[in-house]
Amino acid sequence: MKKFLLILLVLAVGFQGALLAQTRTVTGTVTGGDDGLGIPRANILVKGTTRGTNTNLDGQFSIEVTADETLVFSFVGYVTQEVAVGNQTTINIVLQPDYAELGEVVVVGYGSQEKKEITSSVVAVDAKDFNQGNVNDAAGLLQGKVPGLQVFNKGGNPNNSGSFRLRGISSVGSNAQPLVVIDGVIGASLDNVDPNDIESINVLKDGSAAAIYGSRGSAGVILVTTKQGTRGGSSLQADYNGFVSAATVRQFQPVMDAATYVANGGNDLGSVTDWQDEITRTAISNVHNISVSGSSENTTFRVSTNFRNIQGILDKSGFDQINARANLNHFAVNDKLNISFNMALSQRNQNFSFNEAFRYASLFNPTAPIRNPNGSFFQAILFDNFNPVAILNQNINQGERQTLNFNTQLSYEFFPGFRVTANYAQQFGSQIQGRYFSRESLYVGLGRNGLAARQADENRFTLFETFASWDKELNNANLTLTAGYSWQESQNTGFGMEAGNFPTDDLGFNIIGASGNVLGRQGEVNIYSYETPEDRIIAGFLRFNLTIGNGIFVNGGVRREGSTRLGVDNQWGTFPFVGAGVDILEYADIAAFDVLKFRAGYGVTGSLPGASGQAQDLFAYNRDDSAAGGNVSRVRGGNPDLKWEEKAEINLGLDFGLLGSKLTGTLDVYSRDVNDFILNRQVDPAIFGFSNRFENAGKIQDRGIELALTYNNLLSGDLKWTPGIIASSNKTTLEEYIIDETSFANLGSPGQNGTNMIRVAVGEEIGQIWGPQFVGVSDTGEPIFADLNGDGTVNADPASILNDDSDSQQLGTGIPTVNIGWTNQLSYGNWDLNLFFRASLGHSLVNTFRAFYEPLDPGAINSFNRTVTDLSLTDLTVAQFSSYYVEKADFIRLDNATIGYNFDMSGNDFIRNIRVYGTVQDAFVLTNYQGVDPDPVGDDGGNVLAPGIDRRNNYFDDRTYTFGLTIGF
């Protein structure tokens, strides 16, 4: 390392030439104006050059300069200062905190803005604010950190990424996930970014901010910026980041133990088995990240490699991943030309195991042995109930996934203020999966004499964008114009095969070629190949940003966008947006406030149907039993009139700072109309020949309020405490719909089909859990329901809950009244402690485990083990959905507790810093909910109109203990 530094130094000397002749050493300390302590890693740059240094952990620095140079001192969260060197040999600087961080630059679509110019609702989360511990995807970093952003990721399945939902339901039938933009590449996959490589994440919440991205931004935008080499920073630095973690099951499904089961009439099969314990484990994970970054005068780079070896708490589940990323930036022609190249590659070997084992472990007879005396797995032929240990051990469910993306960006400044940028990006994903069900596996495989399936899927996304921006200083104003063109194409293709009847289990799914099944006979060989329809988005856009004086900010623009997914006459849409902000303190002196800014924005975006091809009829060839071939049938009735779903949103916001900017906050309120929402709705088959097609079917309205408050350093003295709280509330109303009311979310088999649990109605809120009101148990063990309409008869028929004479009512709401995140950053000397609590209040969940398996039906006790909770009624023997199974699921949990120690490395030439930390995720949860996880459930198998159903095969929730180490070289 030393040698390398020497070479760089020699090079630097060569470049700098004669200027270096009269240098001398200036030393000093950089301290913070808030606490008077040294600021570690503050940036010091010689103005107009690329030379610079950083302070050590105590805030001290030393740099070679000449007398006529100026030093620029900066650090995130503080106001940058410049000092002319002159005769000084010691320069001590006090940087004043910039609590509101209004000078911070925020990446917005096709450019960046200073934070004070932002007129929409944008939240920036830096690496230091991310959730720590065993976090394997970007969603986990953000959970609870952004008001209005909900991350749904029930359970601890490492092979599942969390899904995002911004500001409630933004779309019904189309994609409700926010657009992800990674280093300017829209639609990039979060799967290919290691959390260790993320510098910051910006979330654009409202329509006026997201509109520049068009349809793909209609559910909000998440902008990810990866770490880059710092130009003019220290020439070369390396970082190591690693942790080891252990995860255990936080909460088992409460079921009868063997003795209780027998006492309740269950057949005693002679053993005692805790099935849930048998299928789970203490999961040990290792993560290592090494990155190297550096710069020369005109080039910066950063390369990193990440290794992840992750186990899930379900036996055999987990993945191994290697991810590499390289970022390169080059400046030429006096910085007029900027070329940047980013590339990332992930290779992940996955073992999905079988999530169904969770359900069967909660249901299988607790007196059954795992194995028979002869060593084979114990099995009993019961309906939908199998030995879960056998499932995990007899069968294989694995996959391999590669993701590669690169983008090249060229930008050239033709004349001062006018810059043209072109960006070309591609992303490839490929996945190969294999499943094998053994010849012995009663679950699947026995009937087929072994069953193997292999499938390969590939996806490709191509992006070409070019845009120009023009900065113009006007009289007391500044105008920026941006115009651009965007071309996006995606394609999915794949093929697969399934066959059975094998001579041995020993080769797993790789034996598929030895199948005893014959193509074209028995129907036992299933082969398919697919390619999605051409899928393109083409758009042009125009935007202006106008700053008047120091306090008025106006922007606006329009995007004209077309998509292949819509009916030919409706492919193009025009989407305008406008926003304005006023720094009120520039124009009025309000004593109480140190910061007071008002923002307003309005934007329209379009949404597309979730799948391509829906505007067109589809014809397919079916092989039939004729000797020579088959026939052509119409398999889909397209909707040639399908048009854009349009979302119009108004956002009003206030940024404020009080008490000398120690208390800062942001308040946003919004109202959003989703017009012509796209839904795969039931239509009259007499006309169309099909019962369903995609139509523009109605309108929903979202309204919400979001608040973020931070109190900087609440205590005085050495112990520092910075608490922050975010809270959001959202309400979605169905404004128009093709029919007045309908119901969704069938409870299902066994025994409870035809039982819809969710009602939606025009003019009312989304999220109504609906059904009869439970009042007690009859002598015969049946549930008694309330006569809600007082007509003297009780109609609790699940099939007629919407009828006038039905005794059904709202039993709860699936959407929380308020979601809260409460951060506490404490530090004392070199110690720091971060406690992050998360809460959701006001929502209910349907506990489906209880609804199926709690009533003690004597005839069926032997089919399934029984769920036992505080709410169990021993005399209830008949299962029928009602209020009895709808539980309030308010909770508060200690989501993340991290304690860290930073070693003092000020005297060490090699190592900049060492930090060790320990984290507990999901340390405790306070709730009355009887299921395993009280977190809200956002949709029911993708149906966003049916939130609040806690289904049975969720991966169990885990509690994770992490020990981590960070070293900077």
Binding site: V420, W487, D624, A627, P685, S800
Partner: protein, 510 residues
């Protein structure tokens, strides 16, 4: 700004070479319009031969719900005295829809009704498309018209007032039952001259199939329209009988066996195939879970449907149809060892060993898991998949004989009419049952029950004989004629609400 625009356009053109505003959506793995498939070289292992004329796209739609759960078959069977789905504790409650069906307390949200309606119009849409496509081919159009008429008959018989649409994409007002009856009759009469008086190609229809259909239509005309058409029913039946093309199969169970292709008795069948034409799931629907071991089934069955004790007992032991129709008694695995239900109800006298007893303890809530004889008329084959290979018979020669017997008896107002007795005895004789010397209306209805069990005819038979409101096991008597037709499915009323021709509900339902 002009420069910007120029640069942008240039960049766009260079990059995409003219494709910069192209939004044509090409379907890469399928077609967006009809096409004529080239013949492939002889397919391997063809077990039967349906004609390769493209019409199968419409005929194949008849499979939907005809022999599966929660659709047409279920509503024609579970509502009658010959089949039931009991609630077995936590299993098969399903919101009470099958208890409602058994007790005649169904309502318009029953999912099977919605499925019946949607599938029927799906088939009609495909027939309408092919009728237009084959405009120059009279024989093809005639076949499609008969097939479409049959689907309209199912709709009219079940729902009464329906929409009759003959062009894909067009709409029509909901019309009265008598109008749909007249439409069906006219369609059949118009199609017959273009069809051969011969056995139809497999899975298809001939003029004789249309005559058999007419016989059934006229037999029920009194109920549908208020005007009896007994002589017309006899004439249509005679057209089939006198053709000499069909005869009774000497082996009753062969008509329904897994290899029942081209049985001499079949007039019109819906071909199913375990690989290319799925949808017949009787083994799954009726067998108890461990019966998987009796037949080495590839998937676990569902333990749903069984028959009623009184119905089972209406068969003489000497009647060959009894053993051919039901699976009863103790059950063994493929090696002859008794099969066990380890989750047996401790109160069950049979213990874990499975015994399909005719008596069932109760309909709900805790019907015994192993009680009730099971539906076995469509025989199972070893190692079969959930989709069975048997073909479902919708018209067969025995029905034509029985229809003529009934129409004759009704025309002459004499159930012991000599012609009728002779026809009925032909059918009984084949089954090994004793000859009737006299006959009552009740005898005849029971005979139809024994002959046509599991053939989706019982509902319309009970209605025609005025026995629909009778009491039977776990079902009380009623005299509500509104129950003769099902409600228009609620979802369909909602789906059609924003069309030119909204649907209105049938009387007595909401």
């Amino acid at each position: 700004m002009k420069l910007t625009v120029k640069l942008l356009s240039l960049a766009c053109l260079v990059f995409t070479i003219g494709a910069c505003t192209d939004l044509e959506e090409q379907l890469n793995d399928s077609f967006n319009e009809d096409f004529t498939p080239a013949n492939t070289q002889g397919a391997t292992n063809v077990t039967r031969s349906t004609p390769n004329d493209g019409l199968e796209a419409a005929f194949a739609r008849l499979r939907n719900g005809a022999a599966g759960h929660n659709n047409y078959f279920s509503m024609q069977e579970v509502t009658t005295d010959e089949a039931v789905i009991t609630q077995k504790g936590g299993d098969w409650f399903d919101g009470g829809i099958w208890l409602d069906a058994h007790r005649h307390e169904w309502n318009s949200t029953h999912p099977a009704l919605n499925g019946m309606w949607g599938d029927a119009y799906g088939a009609i849409g495909e027939a309408n498309r092919l009728i237009a496509d084959n405009a120059g081919n009279a024989a093809a159009v005639a076949q499609l018209r008969v097939m479409r008429a049959y689907v309209y008959w199912r709709l009219m018989d079940s729902f009464g007032r329906v929409k009759v649409v003959t062009v894909l994409g067009q709409d029509a007002p909901q019309q009265d039952r008598v109008d749909t009856f007249n439409f069906i009759e006219a369609e059949l009469l118009a199609a017959i001259p273009d069809l051969a008086d011969a056995r139809a190609e497999y899975g298809r229809v001939s003029a004789l199939s249309a005559q058999a259909f007419l016989a059934r239509l006229y037999l029920n005309a009194d109920h549908y329209t208020g005007t009896p058409r007994w002589q017309d029913a006899i004439d249509a039946a005679d057209a089939v009988i006198n053709s000499g093309v069909y005869s009774l199969s000497p082996d009753f169970s062969a008509i329904f066996a897994p290899d029942n292709i081209d049985n001499v008795e079949q007039i019109w069948t819906i071909p199913y195939d375990e690989s290319t034409a799925g949808g017949m799931n009787f083994a799954q629907m009726t067998l108890h879970y461990p019966s998987q071991l009796t037949y080495s089934l590839q998937d676990q069955p569902w333990n749903g449907y069984s028959s009623l004790e009184a119905f089972y007992n209406s068969f003489d032991n000497a009647d060959g149809r009894k053993a051919a129709s039901f699976i009863a008694g103790p059950q063994n695995d493929i090696n002859g060892n008794p099969i066990l239900d380890l989750a047996f109800d401790p109160a069950d006298a049979d213990g874990a060993a499975i015994n399909y007893t005719p008596a069932i303890n109760e309909l709900a809530p805790s019907g015994s898991r192993q009680a009730g004889v099971r539906m076995g008329k469509y025989g199972f084959k070893l190692r079969q998949r959930p989709d069975m290979d048997n073909d479902y018979v919708i018209f067969r020669y025995a029905e034509v004989l029985m229809n003529k017997a009934e129409a004759t008896a009704r025309l002459n107002n004499n159930w012991s009419d000599g012609v009728s007795l002779a026809l009925v005895n032909q059918v009984r004789d084949r089954a090994g049952a004793s000859q009737f010397t006299t006959m009552t209306e009740q005898d005849f209805l029971a005979e139809r029950g024994r002959e046509f069990f599991q053939e989706s005819l019982r509902r319309s038979d009970l209605i025609r004989f005025g026995a629909w409101g009778n009491a039977w096991w776990e079902k009380s008597a009623h005299s509500d004629v509104n129950l003769d037709i099902f409600p228009i499915p609620n979802d369909q009323i909602l789906a059609a609400a924003d069309t030119q021709n909204p649907l209105t509900q049938n009387p007595g339902y909401n």
